[in-house]
Every structure is written in C-alpha cells, then in structure tokens.
C-alpha cells in the first residue's frame, strides 16, 4: 500500500463524484453529482462543459445522489449557463432533495434554470 496515497485520494469514500453522459444524438448532456457539490468539484465540473463542442446542447444536472450544495456550486452552475449560451441555455436541475431545493429557492435560481 503506497504510504502517500493514490491519485483521487481527496475523494476518499466517494468513488466518482461527477459523471458525464451524452445522449445518443449528443444533444443532451447529463452530469450526475454525488456527495458534496462544492468547490472541490470545480475542476471536474469545468471539464464537463469546457470541451463541449455543441453549444446548442442541453444539460441535465442530476442531484439525486448529492447530499449538499453550497454557493460555489451555484457559481459553477452560472459558469455552465454562460458557456451553454447564457439566456438561450437549456439547463435542468433534477432530483433535488428538500435541502438543495431550499438553497435554489432562496437564491431564486429557478429564474435561470429549470428546477425539478
């Protein structure tokens, strides 16, 4: 056992905090988040959309496995929205727990994203 840890060690306990799936026609990108949706995911989240070739794609953020979301996560969503076309972006945030729903409600993010 390597004494100084293995790559990805900081996500000890959660195997894949963020996964990306593309629909068959590549029009819908689903990003599934598990565990804490906070600043630690910044790098991976950016990569999810930074290399998106199709700026017309719509996005689905699945938070079924997410247990916590903070304001840096809200910031990441804004980055995604900017990249995905700003006002024309089509982004849905689905399977929100009551706690996460509360955060989205207080911030009135349903004015910018479809929230379910």
């Amino acid at each position: 056992m390597a004494p100084w840890g293995v790559p990805g060690d900081r996500h000890k306990g959660r195997f894949m905090p963020l996964t990306i799936q593309r629909s068959d026609d590549d029009r819908v990108v689903t990003i599934t988040i598990s565990g804490r949706f906070d600043f630690d995911l910044h790098q991976e989240f950016r990569q999810a959309f930074e290399h998106a070739e199709d700026e017309e794609a719509s996005y689905v953020i699945d938070l079924a496995q997410a247990e916590y979301m903070d304001s840096s996560a809200l910031g990441m969503l804004l980055l995604l929205r900017e990249r995905a076309g700003g006002d024309r972006a089509d982004i849905s945030i689905v399977n929100c727990s009551p706690a996460i729903n509360k955060i989205l409600t207080i911030s009135n993010f349903h004015k910018l994203f479809k929230v379910a």
Partner: protein
C-alpha cells in the same frame, strides 16, 4: 591525495568554506591516529577528543558535521556523550557513527537508542568508513535543505498573516463606517466576517430614514472580501444623498457585473425604513427570509424574491420591492444562511422553521436577540458555531428617527449667499425612471453649501414632491394607508398608476435670495393634476401627523411660510437660513 577523492568544500560549516568536519572521540591513542590518517587523506578536517566529556566540549566549540564515537571511554562514555551531543545539536542533523568492537546485539541496539546513526567495527576499513560517511552526508544535506525550506515557508506564512491583519483593519474601516451603533440596532457579526465576504451596513438617510444591508459574497478569503469595498462605497454614498434602495441595488448590480467573474455573486437584502418607521421596504436577492416580529408576538417571514446581485444584467434586473407596514415596537430580523445551516452533532440543520419558532416563543422582545443566540448555541452543542453567522435586529422606533443626528455636523460652511434659481420639470417617462430628489439635493449642496440644513431641506422637498406626484398626478388618497391592507394596496396602486401615467407633469422650482443674514430659499412645486380642496384638508389635519408622510405640521415647523394655492396643485414653502435661523429654530413638532 591518496586516491584523488577530495570532498567538496562544505558551505554548511560555520566558516562557510572548508572541508567537512569530523570529530573523533576515542580514548585509544592508536585508534585516533589511524582514523585521523584515513580521514585526512580523504580530505576531511579532523579534530580529536580523548573522552566523552572532551568530545562534548569539542563539539560545542568546533561544531563538527559528523562524529565518530567510541563507546567505552572514561569520564563520560560514548552513550552519554552521544545523548548530550544530539541534544546540543537540536534542530540540526549531526550524524554519529559508533566505533565499537562489540558484537552483542543489545549493545548495538543501545547505540541506536541513544541517537547513534550507524556503527563501525574494527578493523577499520577505509572503504567502508568513507561509504558510511558519504551516505550520512547525503542525509545531512537533505536535512539542511528541508530545514531551509521549512524556515522560508514559516517566514512566508508570518508575512501573509501580517498582511492579512493590515488588510482586515483597512477593510473594516472602509466597510464599517456606518450607523451600526445606533441604539435600535442589535447585531452579531464575526470578526473574521470580512474575510468570508459577509457584510452588514447601516446608514441614515438625510430624511431621517434608515438603510440596512446584509450581504454575502460567494467564496472565501480575500477574493470574497474585495467586493465589499465598492459595495460599501456605493451604499454609503447613495444613502447619504437620499437615494432609495432600488437605485442603490441597481448601481451595485451594475458594478458587480463588471468587476466580478461569472461564478462569483453577492446575495444581499436591502431594508429601508422611512423616517416615521411606519413603512418598511425590502429587496431580497438570495438571503434567507426576513422575519418581522410584531408587537403582538406574531412572526412573519418574508422570503427572497430575487436573484443575487452581480448575476444578471441591469436590463433584466427586477427592482420590485416588498412594502410592509410596521409600527413602533416591531422588530425586523435578518440573518445570513450560516444561521440556518448551522447543524448539531447529528447533522440536523437549525433551519428556518426553528428560527421563526424561537423568535415567536420569546415573550420579552428585548430578550429575543440573546435568546435566539442561546438557542442556536444549545442546538449546535459541542460543535463550534461557524464564523459565517451574521444577524441583525432592528427595532422600529420613530423617536430615534426624529431625533437629530448625533453626528457632528460636517465641516462645511455655507457659501456666501447668492441669488440663483433652478427649475426642473418632470414628465411621466422621467417620473417613472428617475428619482429627482437626490439630484436636486445635490444641486442645493453644491450651489449654496447648505449641508448643515440637509435633513430639513430634504424633508421639505420630499413632502412637497410626494404630495404632488402621489396625490396630484396619481390621484392616490393617503387615507387608504390607515389600515394594513390599505397600506399594501396604496403602494400597489401607486406602482400601477405610475406605470400607466401618460400625461401630466411636476415642476420643482427653487429660488434663492440673500436676505442680509443668510438666505431665503423658496420651494415651488406645481403639478397639473386636478388638485384638491386644500382648505377642506388643511385645517382638520393639522393634528394628524401621519397624513402626508410626516405632514404639513412638520413643514410648518421647518418653514417660515407654507401656502397652497390654485386648486391645491401648487405649493410654495420658504426656508430661511443664516445667523438667526428663525425657521429652523423650533425643533419641536406638533
């Protein structure tokens, strides 16, 4: 040089140059000679000691890089000498190689236990001795490098901490220079709040009203704190000039859109209490609900209606405010999300419902603030309360607003009285998009330097203009404001009628003349609405302070002259200032 191997000059020696220094401690004269010869040939600098005590002494004065230590020596043996030398070396790594003929494992283990790093047995082999010394030298150099890096890091950290402390002081001065110390405001703000991007500001309006802003930047540290500077500047500057929260939040949003990156934003709630403390205006973008605890014990929670500031462009910004009637004794409570998200050891969050219940359950409103903190502390239990808890409680108290500001008047002297006049005419489009009061006040201050009279002048201007607009052009009846439902209805109607207004104008004229002691300023406000029967309205309302805002009685106490003419759609008020300020003398109001 026997075999051409010269050790490099050792920069770590006290002198900075010279060969690696080796101290030989051995009571046997022949051993000393042999070892000294071997080492000298290899280019090391060598000193000797005959016993343990001498070894320690030579170590102290000569500071060798490495020690060859015999075990059996008189006075002080090798084990004890090694202990002392290792202690004296302290932070530095000075390897000790034991010279021993012993082969029993216990003795060898003891060598290591007292701090020895290796041992050499007889007969002494030049090759093996050199190999061991080289190996230990590598370790020693590594050790030196690590220590240097550690010291550098520690230095950086110290400097960073100092800079932080200075930055914190500067930010605190810039951001906290407002009215938070007013007697009717209780607040909790962590000392490190500024580095969390948390801010709590309060300032008086020239009319006597109050602005409070509780805000929270995303992120932590200096990048979050930086945004507080322009925001504080805008808040204090515009409040001082009499701007309303709608204008202030639009200016802040605009500024933050420009300077902040896309993923950084500013959740904020702005509260405006009018001078009477009868009307509360709220704009909340991203902060938890604002709670109002009424005099009768009921608690209302008003949620956030808007996106945080700095997220969308000003064209899309929704400036719609909530208007709520309040009365003396009502308590307004606002808090950051750190409050709601504080959790107990089981991971349960404090939550809004619990907070509202706590506010409602406190029988004595004066204890409500402390009671809430106590309840939160009990709930969190052993967990520490986070440093992102911001809490403010404002007590509605008209007496506070009417009292003259205790701040010393600023060092402005009125300019020499001059003759001048200005007139501004406002049509529906302008009335919808511009608040003329701060602009006119700005002119007044610049033209004649009447800062000392700012509050009274603003009160007069606001009274006259509001009447002309609300009553004259929009046809609103202030009697509607007498009931809570009517109060809300009044402002809904106002908003609606202003949006639909398609004709009519308000003209504000100011004429100023020197009068020998100071000056005389005549306000004339004309609107071309249908007017009202001022004789019917005038007399019976002299006792009713709350009819037109603070009303006609207040204007009469401030102004030397007040007269409604025409169909009641024209009003003239005269304000005198100077060494003998007759008009402003009567500080008592009806």
């Amino acid at each position: 040089m026997a075999d051409g191997n010269t050790p490099q000059p050792n920069p770590d020696t006290p002198s900075g140059v010279g060969a690696t220094r080796v101290l030989i401690a051995d009571d046997d004269h022949v051993n000393r000679l042999i070892l000294k010869a071997i080492l000298a040939k290899e280019g090391y600098a060598v000193e000797v000691a005959e016993d343990g005590r001498e070894a320690v002494a030579r170590f102290t004065e000569w500071q060798p890089d490495l020690v060859l230590m015999d075990v059996m020596m008189p006075v002080l043996d090798g084990y004890e000498a090694t202990r002392e030398i290792k202690a004296l070396a302290g932070d530095a790594f000075v390897p000790v190689i034991f010279l021993t003929a012993l082969s029993d494992e216990a003795a060898l283990a003891r060598c290591v236990a007292v701090g020895g790093d290796d041992f050499l047995t007889k007969p002494y082999s030049r090759v093996i001795l050199k190999a061991k010394i080289d190996a230990l030298e590598r370790v020693r150099r590594l050790h030196v490098t690590l220590r240097q890096q550690r010291d550098e890091l520690a230095g950086h950290q110290r400097r960073l901490l100092q800079e932080h402390q200075v930055a914190e002081k500067v930010l605190a001065k810039i951001v906290h220079s407002g009215s938070l110390d007013a007697s009717q405001i209780k607040y909790l703000l962590s000392p490190m709040a500024i580095f969390n991007g948390d801010m709590l500001l309060a300032a008086r309006k020239p009319s006597g009203g109050l602005h409070v802003m509780l805000g929270d930047f995303t992120g932590h540290g200096l990048s979050a704190a930086i945004g507080t500077v322009p925001v504080a500047d805008i808040f204090y500057g515009m409040t001082d000039k009499g701007f309303s929260i709608g204008d202030i939040l639009a200016t802040i949003n605009d500024k933050l859109r420009v300077i902040l990156p896309t993923d950084v934003f500013f959740a904020a709630v702005l509260l405006e209490l009018d001078a009477n403390h009868s009307k509360l205006t709220i704009w909340n973008g991203g902060i938890p609900d604002v709670a109002i605890r009424r005099v009768d014990g009921r608690v209302e929670a008003l949620p956030s209606d808007h996106l945080p500031l700095g997220v969308i462009e000003n064209e899309q910004l929704d400036r719609a405010v909530r208007v709520v009637e309040v009365e003396a004794g009502d308590r307004i409570v606002a808090f950051s999300d750190g409050f709601i998200e504080a959790h107990n050891p089981e991971g349960e969050m404090f939550g809004l419902e619990r907070l509202v219940a706590t506010l409602a359950s406190e029988a004595d409103p004066d204890s409500m603030f402390d009671g809430l903190l106590r309840t939160l502390g009990d709930f969190v239990g052993e967990g520490a309360l986070g440093d992102d808890l911001s809490l403010v409680e404002i007590t509605c108290d008209p007496a506070w607003a009417l009292a003259r500001s205790s701040e010393a008047p600023r060092a402005f002297r009125p300019r020499a009285p001059m003759r001048w006049s200005i007139s501004i005419e406002l049509v529906p489009d302008t009335l919808r998009s511009v608040d003329p009061l701060p602009l006119v006040m700005h002119l007044l201050m610049d033209l004649q330097g009447l800062q000392e009279h700012r509050e009274q002048l603003y009160a007069v201007l606001m009274e006259l203009f509001s009447n002309a607009l609300d009553h004259g052009l929009l046809g609103l009846d202030s009697a509607l404001k007498q009931t809570p439902e009517g109060f809300v209805r009044y402002y809904e109607l106002r908003k609606q009628r202003l949006a639909e207004l398609d004709h009519g104008r308000v003209r504000i004229s100011l004429d100023h003349e020197p009068d020998g002691r100071g000056g005389s300023l005549r306000f004339t406000v004309v609107d071309d609405g249908p007017g009202f029967d001022h004789s019917r309205v005038f007399a019976p309302l002299e006792e009713n302070v709350s009819f037109f805002g603070r009303g006609i009685p207040l204007l009469k106490s401030i102004c030397e002259h007040l007269e409604y003419t025409g169909d009641g759609n024209q009003v003239e008020a005269v304000y005198r200032w100077g060494d003998n300020e007759a008009g402003a003398d009567s500080a008592t109001h009806d």
